[in-house]
Symmetry: C3
Subunit: 121 residues, 3 copies
């Protein structure tokens, strides 16, 4: 497998994680009967929505940095840091919906991964 393909695989996996956070919002919307266009009204929905929004907020920092890092430095290291981002995002999402106060660990992991990719360029 060509190493650049690793970055594509990590990109697609990252997008699937984001897609999964979007599905949680749709599910929470139905389950808690939040009628569109409302984006508030039940704590479970609001948590799921913030998880999706926060993931969305970081995607434009993370994805271009991932690709520029892979292009200018090293695709394998970029893909490895991308995996850290994915793990951080999943830990963040799972912790946040249980208790937003516990979002720190996963958030720190994804922030570290993004910062290394962005500032490493």
């Amino acid at each position: 497998m060509h190493v650049d393909n690793l970055v594509v695989v990590v990109t697609l996996a990252s997008l699937l994680v984001y897609f999964w956070t979007s599905i949680q919002v749709a599910n929470a919307r139905v389950r808690n009967k939040i009628i569109a266009p409302a984006v508030a009204g039940h704590p479970e929905f609001e948590r799921a929505y913030r998880v999706q929004m926060n993931t969305l907020e970081w995607l434009p920092l993370y994805l271009p940095s991932l690709w520029l890092f892979a292009y200018y430095f090293n695709a394998i290291i970029a893909a490895a840091i991308g995996l850290l981002w994915i793990v951080g995002r999943i830990v963040y999402a799972l912790a946040y919906v249980k208790d937003p106060k516990r979002r720190g660990l996963g958030f720190s992991l994804q922030t570290l991964a993004t910062a290394v990719l962005l500032l490493g360029d």
Copy 2:
């Protein structure tokens, strides 16, 4: 015309559709006197805002998937599916502002298009 240019044209057309949803928000803000930074206060504004936000939420899934699909498989098929996304997005936007309950058809079209591009990779 080189086939890759088709993907560029579809990308620019997709961004113009998104740009159009943003202009609807600005217009609804003025028309309904929603003073910034408020993003609520009138149903028409809230619908236009959710249309823009939902389109924004899907762009990072759709655009990278469009390009990776075009690069790894077939640029013409990618562009055709991109056209489906554009049609779905316009149908979704027009239906949503009239009645959010009718957003299903357009949303399904754009979801199908994005899913094929993302999972087809």
Copy 3:
């Protein structure tokens, strides 16, 4: 320095400006004790959040247009227009948190920059 690198530098600088708007939100959240997942409750926080969101809303219009303009036309002109976007974004952010009514100048600058890049393609 290769001219294409100018576009990379402008891209990274643009992302850092966006990153800075995100940090303002985090700071305003702590300072005004806005407990997650709330995204409202204090004017200072709400302004910082809208600045970040508006910057996020424009990134998918601006960044792909910047790169396509640089690729199809001229990387130096693209980078120069990107600098205008960055200046507009900083002016917008600084004015908005003081008084949202003053957001016009910076917003116009970034809109002009994005429109030239997008419609110039």
